[in-house]
Amino acid sequence: MNKALFIILSACLFSFLACDSESALSSIESSNGTSGSITRFATLGDFMYTLNPNELQTFDITDPSKPVLVSELETDYGLETIFIYENRIYLGSRTGLFILGLDNPAEPNLLSQTLREDEFFGACDPVVVKDNYAYSTIKTIVNVCGNLNTQSALLIYEVSNPSNPILSQSFELDIPNGLGYTDQYLYVCSTGSETLKVFDISDPTAVVERPDLDYPIEEPFDIIVDGDRMIVSSTDKFFILDLNEDGSIAHESIISK
């Protein structure tokens, strides 16, 4: 188990090698895009926010050829992912969920920080937010008398009061990683079970697992939901999936180069 875990999670690792190519002409239209849930970089307006393990940094990117570091907010060690939603910054950390205000976008201020009893580990404990709810996946390893166990979960926080997030629901998961949502459904990479887990979030006060909609996928790592399609990254490839209105997932293309 530990070995499998290690191999699977080494998706976070550095590595190398090169291959060959072919090419077509193209240029990028000016528009803002969508990040996966596992990232330490995000932009909003004239500012970019980045994470070091123990601080949030704010850059003024008005002139992209000369970004200027304008503020730093120190935190506990362990910041991992950033998600900006409706003028707030949500940070996934190995110690909890951070919520920051953007009343002054040049200098975000800390509104709240949840604390977990266990220290969760990993470089990939992301959070996404929709309406008044934050959906966060976490992983930890505990050692009970020499036996290592993983404890992983989806935690759902009610965040209508950003100074006081309240844990509303949690679901056990097997090594979750990235996640993304549509209006009605939340999709979570369950790397341990090699499944895309589906949750019905149409009523966020009563989120329901939908195992009937779960979709088997090899080593899912992170997700971008884009209208009626979803891109899922895996260790050395990615999948393009069609999303049906009933939440079910269909037709995949697999791309590795």
Binding site: C12, F16, S27, M48, D236
Partner: protein, 175 residues
């Protein structure tokens, strides 16, 4: 005493770690950093596509899909043609681990620095700027539990780790 303490920590919280600790000299299998000279950090530009080795952070703009290849750069795919969804370019960014894109500008880390790149023409991206010494890269192998050769920051930027038969190393990941 110190030795015992390290061992207890190392074995109690196995696997991944976010710290490194000095350790009694160790010889045997472990990890060693892969360096590039600092002079190579500015080798930023469009290249021919490459295969994905180890997927990293991802980003989508319209039909353009970007994926980090840690330490090396960013793959670019055009997803507009369902039957031809191949990589169209690779943006070389030495020592990269993460990035974002805003209005045709790609911002990424490159070792301790922030770089900005104009990607309006994906086949001829333009390296705009390097803001030095703003990031704290991990100086230990991620998701690895065990001994490793301590990073010597004078030797260059670390772009990855490889297995090696180590002699008398003093670093060990702990949690």
């Amino acid at each position: 005493m110190r030795f015992t303490f390290s061992l207890i920590i190392a074995s109690s919280l196995f696997l991944f770690s976010c710290h490194q600790e000095e350790y009694l000299a160790y010889s045997g299998m472990g990890k060693t950093p892969i360096y590039i000279p600092f002079s190579e950090l500015d080798n930023i530009g469009s290249q021919a596509p490459q295969s994905i080795e180890q997927s990293g952070p991802i980003f989508l703009i319209g039909d353009f899909f970007f994926m980090v290849e840690a330490g090396k750069g960013i793959h670019v795919f055009d997803l507009s043609d369902v039957d031809q969804q191949n990589s169209i370019a690779f943006i070389s960014i030495p020592a990269v681990t993460d990035f974002t894109i805003d209005d045709n500008i790609l911002f990424a880390d490159s070792w301790k620095d922030l770089v900005s790149i104009d990607i309006s023409d994906i086949h001829n991206v333009v390296f705009l700027s390097r803001t030095t010494d703003v990031f704290d890269p991990f100086l230990f192998p991620q998701l690895f539990n065990g001994p490793f050769e301590c990073v010597d920051e004078n030797r260059g930027a670390v772009i990855g780790w490889e297995d090696k038969n180590l002699e008398n190393v003093f670093c060990h990941t702990v949690n």
